[in-house]
């Protein structure tokens, strides 16, 4: 989250591409001339009908009447931000999809091959401990520290899996929350 925040802030402050500004003039139909849209890459002070509408479809005296009906707007965008955002989003989505495929398909197969069938069943029984003192164990055991980093990661992942399983039970199975 911090990374995404930092990157997006950086992108927001990147200097604008010169192609990212335009002056858009919309001119409605006038006499026999049909409606037209003119785009030009000019700056704010030049964004008016006389600079943008080229070639001018009417002559001489009609130019003023024609230009009065036109509406010119100055617009600016940041294509770098858009590109960066889409790339960040797609990469996070891709990573999540890979992790999801790993969790649902690959991990049971790997576990079964390494540990055998019985271990898998035993893991599932640990969930849903209903003793009144179970929560107390959780609260007090958090103060114990594990020296091994890998053990810590494994422990955190197990705890997260248990939490998600509890959430899934509440939402999807028992329909207790968020129905």
């Amino acid at each position: 989250l911090v990374l995404a925040l930092a990157v997006s802030l950086v992108l927001a402050l990147t200097p604008a591409n010169s192609e990212d500004i335009r002056c858009k003039c919309i001119c409605p139909p006038y006499k026999e001339i049909e409606g037209q849209i003119y785009n030009q890459n000019v700056s704010l002070k030049d964004c008016n009908c006389l600079h943008v509408v080229e070639p001018m479809p009417v002559e001489g005296k009609d130019v003023e009447a024609y230009c009065l009906r036109c509406e010119c707007k100055y617009e600016e965008r940041s294509s770098g931000t858009i590109k960066g955002t889409i790339i960040i989003y797609l990469s996070v989505l891709g990573l999540l999809l890979l992790y999801m495929v790993y969790l649902t398909l690959l991990e049971p197969i790997l576990k079964r091959r390494l540990f055998g069938h019985s271990q898998l069943i035993q893991n599932d029984d640990d969930v849903g401990d209903q003793q009144p003192f179970a929560n107390a164990h959780d609260v007090l055991s958090r103060s114990r520290s594990r020296p091994n980093v890998l053990n810590k990661v494994e422990h955190a992942q197990q705890r997260w899996r248990r939490q998600v399983q509890e959430q899934r039970k509440s939402v999807f199975d028992r329909h207790v929350v968020l129905s």
Binding site: L1, S8, G35, I86, L140, L178
Partner: protein, 796 residues
């Protein structure tokens, strides 16, 4: 100590008075507030030193999942902390810096939350727009641009066809090679449906595997959390990430849902995560909820580009306790979020939301009548939607329909995509539809809604310029709009409540905008063909456009949104901040008030309160009034036939008996009395605190066996010499529980619960303990009085 007198939470200071009491078995009594955490009450007595030597037991003072917090205890803890920091302030420069940091940490949290909400909202907006157009085609020159951005710099756009340019290729062009014709139509149809199904399937799979709490709108649960409920994991990191990602997918799949409710949830997640960086907020549940109120204001602010509307929404709809300090901080959070979103500039024209309208034509008094009619429509639709949606959700909850969430999402997405594609008004993004309906027809517009026959060749009665007679183009547009209206009304009922992030604001506004535009065009045609009626001749000059159908669309949108959510002030402020039309406040207010009155005639709850009741959350609504004349003794437990109240005596129990009481009952707390004969109240002890204290004592102290005496007094009772070591549990005892007498009217009891945020209240009779009233009992009683099912209240 300055903030105590001005604190609107509690009318009195929470502790510190010494009330001596004649007691035989207790010495040196003082009625100080002993909080979980073990901080001493600050009253001097001979036993004060001993209290200080006891360490606070870790874990006492935290709450279980799906339980309610104790607002009074949390507020007292916070004041303790503040007192401690202030008293140390003068000692050294380091302490002074710490106190400054403590005072300013609130602003820091709120700023970070605003920054994060703005950034995430920008990401969601850009990604949702791009993926939405991915159903249609691709931009070959730059794959990351959506349709509008792809054709931004091209010169081939014409007046009539504003969005055709050669860089944007539809799927039919890419796959088949041709852009027109029945074959390419079918191919476009097929690809549209395929992408919609793929996005919906991905969204529901991600939600199911990673964060099941990320589904739904989030606002009912956030309302409950802000009123004091705990749902662990609901505002966590994984929920935040999954909600952001799947919200984009759900919006892009064409389902009839919006982003606003989920954006409030996302903002609250950011607020929760940042509050964990500061111990002032992470350890105190009441202070955390202040941050969450500010975060929800930031969420609405980025959803609509309406900072003031966001603050008012947070005040009116979401928050439970809203002290004035939170008002200023919420406003700041909303402004920071809006500023960040603006600087990311997702839409390329420096507007925060798409719907900015710029017309300033006046409205006339006779138009109030169709506006009120739109208000009535909004109220009726709101009541109908709430009933239908709750019935469908109840079905999903209790029958086998709810067993297949993934299948349900795919089915709804398939039906939506298949029916929506042929109609150009439902095929496009709902936000773009609303913008098109809000925009008034001027000479520069070329949509099908604006094809009027111009009377330039002049017939006798009307000089040139009155181009208000409708061509067949407008009539076909009206047909399509009516079909779109029916489609949206039906599909939104089934879409809100699916297991993907779904919001309600944009579909309701779309329904209202369609209805409003139809009414507006009808009134315009009426004015044109019957310009000699009294009404029109009085106010409308011949030849001028006096009716703006875009305004009717705006009023209709506000009316429908008000009818379904029953918002009042915040809705009006949001709509006029959205559209910039300050002149139109009176029509908006007329329509919103009418829709609220009509909606209230059918049922007092808005959609969020109805979902809270459906889920059985323990939410005591501050807007409902309790008007019955029952007394406290009719609601309290135990009732006449029940088992007697489970109480603990202050120094009579052994550890074995205590554990037996805890194991055999499932109550959350136990009153502590002096002895079984006198039944006089000492205090209240919570189950969770007792179990944690016993575990801790077993681990840390030696010699605690089942026969050890457990005492809640200051000094141990006299025991024979060979008895095992006694266990002192005084530090977890709440010595000032709230009590009412059995003759207190329930109106006052409900008021006390609401205003103080209590969980339970003890009932005494002539000074002796008689029973207990919990929040669940009150909710059940209210449901019973309203003839609803009292068993649907599930949580404590």
């Amino acid at each position: 100590m300055e903030e105590d007198s001005a604190d609107p939470y509690l009318p009195y200071d929470g502790g510190g008075d010494t009330i001596p009491l004649q007691e035989i078995s207790r010495r040196g009594s003082n009625y100080a507030m002993s909080n979980g955490g073990g901080a001493a009450g600050g009253v001097s007595s001979s036993t004060h030193l001993l209290d200080l030597l006891e360490e606070p037991i870790p874990g006492v003072g935290t709450y279980d999942d799906f339980h309610t917090i104790d607002w009074v205890r949390e507020k007292c803890k916070d004041r303790e902390r503040h007192r401690k920091i202030n008293s140390k302030k003068k000692e050294s420069a380091w302490e002074f810096t710490k106190s400054l940091y403590d005072a300013w940490s609130g602003w820091l949290v709120v700023t970070l939350t605003g920054l994060a909400s703005g950034a995430l909202a920008g990401l969601i907006d850009i990604a949702a727009d791009w993926m939405n157009d991915l159903k249609e085609g691709v931009c070959l020159s730059a794959m990351w641009f959506n349709h509008e951005q792809c054709c931004w710099g091209s010169n081939e756009t014409t007046f009539a066809e504003r969005d055709k340019c050669p860089q944007w290729k539809t799927w039919a062009e890419l796959i088949l090679g041709q852009a027109e014709g029945p074959g390419s139509y079918i191919m476009n149809y097929f690809m549209y449906t395929y992408w919609a199904l793929a996005f919906a399937f991905l969204a529901v799979c991600l939600v199911k595997v990673f964060a099941p709490y990320a589904c739904g709108s989030g606002i009912p649960e956030i309302k409950t959390i802000l009123s004091g409920f705990i749902i662990r994991g609901y505002l966590g990191k994984w929920t935040l990430m999954i909600k952001t990602i799947t919200l984009v997918l759900a919006v892009a799949s064409g389902l009839s849902l919006g982003k606003e409710g989920p954006l409030v949830h996302v903002a609250c997640c950011c607020g929760n995560i940042f509050s964990y960086l500061f111990p002032k907020y992470s350890k105190n549940e009441a202070k955390k909820r202040e941050v969450l109120s500010a975060a929800s204001a930031a969420g609405v602010s980025v959803a609509f580009g309406a900072p003031i509307g966001g603050v008012l929404f947070s005040l009116e709809e979401v928050s439970y306790y809203f002290p004035l300090k939170t008002l200023w901080r919420s406003f700041f959070a909303a402004l920071v979020a809006a500023f960040v979103l603006r600087s990311i500039n997702p839409f390329g024209n420096s507007r925060l939301v798409l719907f900015y309208v710029e017309y300033h034509t006046p409205w006339y008094l006779f138009e109030l009548f169709p506006f009120i009619l739109l208000g009535v429509f909004g109220g009726l639709w709101g009541a109908f939607f709430i009933r239908a949606n709750i019935a469908w959700c109840r079905r999903r909850k209790s029958t086998r329909f709810g067993k297949y969430p993934v299948l349900e999402v795919i089915t709804v997405a398939a039906i939506t995509a298949i029916v929506a594609f042929p109609n150009p008004y439902t095929r496009q993004n709902t936000s773009e539809l609303i913008k098109e309906l809000f925009t008034d027809c001027g000479p520069l517009e070329s949509s099908q809604l604006c094809q009027y026959r111009s009377q330039m060749n002049g017939s006798q009665a009307y000089p040139e310029g009155s181009d208000a007679a409708a061509t067949p183009g407008v009539y076909s547009a009206m047909w399509q709009l009516s079909l779109a209206l029916i489609f949206k009304i039906v599909m939104t009922i089934f879409t809100f409540g699916l297991k993907v992030p779904s919001g309600l604001f944009i579909p309701s506004m779309a329904i209202g905008a369609i209805a409003g535009r139809i009414v507006g065009i009808a009134v315009e045609q009426l004015a044109y063909y019957h310009h000699d009626w009294f009404l029109f001749k009085e106010w409308c000059e011949v030849g001028a456009d006096c009716i703006t159908p875009g305004l009717y669309a705006m009023v209709g949108a506000a009316a429908c949104l008000g009818g379904v959510t029953r918002m009042t002030v915040s809705l009006v402020v949001i709509v006029f901040e959205l559209t910039g039309g300050l002149e139109y406040i009176v029509p908006l207010m007329a329509a919103v008030m009418t829709s609220k009155w009509v909606g209230d005639a059918f049922g007092r709850e808005g959609i969020y309160e109805a979902h809270i009741r459906l889920n059985g959350y323990p939410f005591l609504d501050a807007k409902e009034e309790f008007t019955h004349t029952t007394l406290a003794r009719e609601v309290m437990r135990p009732r006449r036939n029940d088992s007697p109240l489970a109480v603990l005596t202050q120094d009579d129990l052994t550890l074995g008996e205590l554990q037996a009481i805890i194991n055999e009952t499932s109550y959350n707390g136990f009153p502590v009395i002096v002895s079984k004969e006198s039944q006089r109240l000492v205090g209240f002890a919570l189950r969770r605190d007792i179990t944690i204290a016993i575990e801790n004592a077993r681990r840390k102290q030696e010699g605690i066996v089942l026969n050890s005496r457990v005492y809640f007094t200051q000094h141990a009772p006299t025991l024979p010499a060979d008895s095992p070591r006694p266990l002192k549990l005084r530090s977890i005892l709440d010595m000032s529980p709230f009590t009412v007498t059995d003759h207190t009217p329930m109106e006052i009891v409900v008021d006390i619960f609401r205003k103080l945020g209590l969980r339970q209240c003890l009932v005494t009779h002539n000074g002796r303990l008689l029973g207990i009233i919990t929040k669940k009992d009150i909710l059940r009683h209210m449901a019973q009085m309203a003839n609803q099912d009292p068993e649907s209240i599930m949580f404590n």
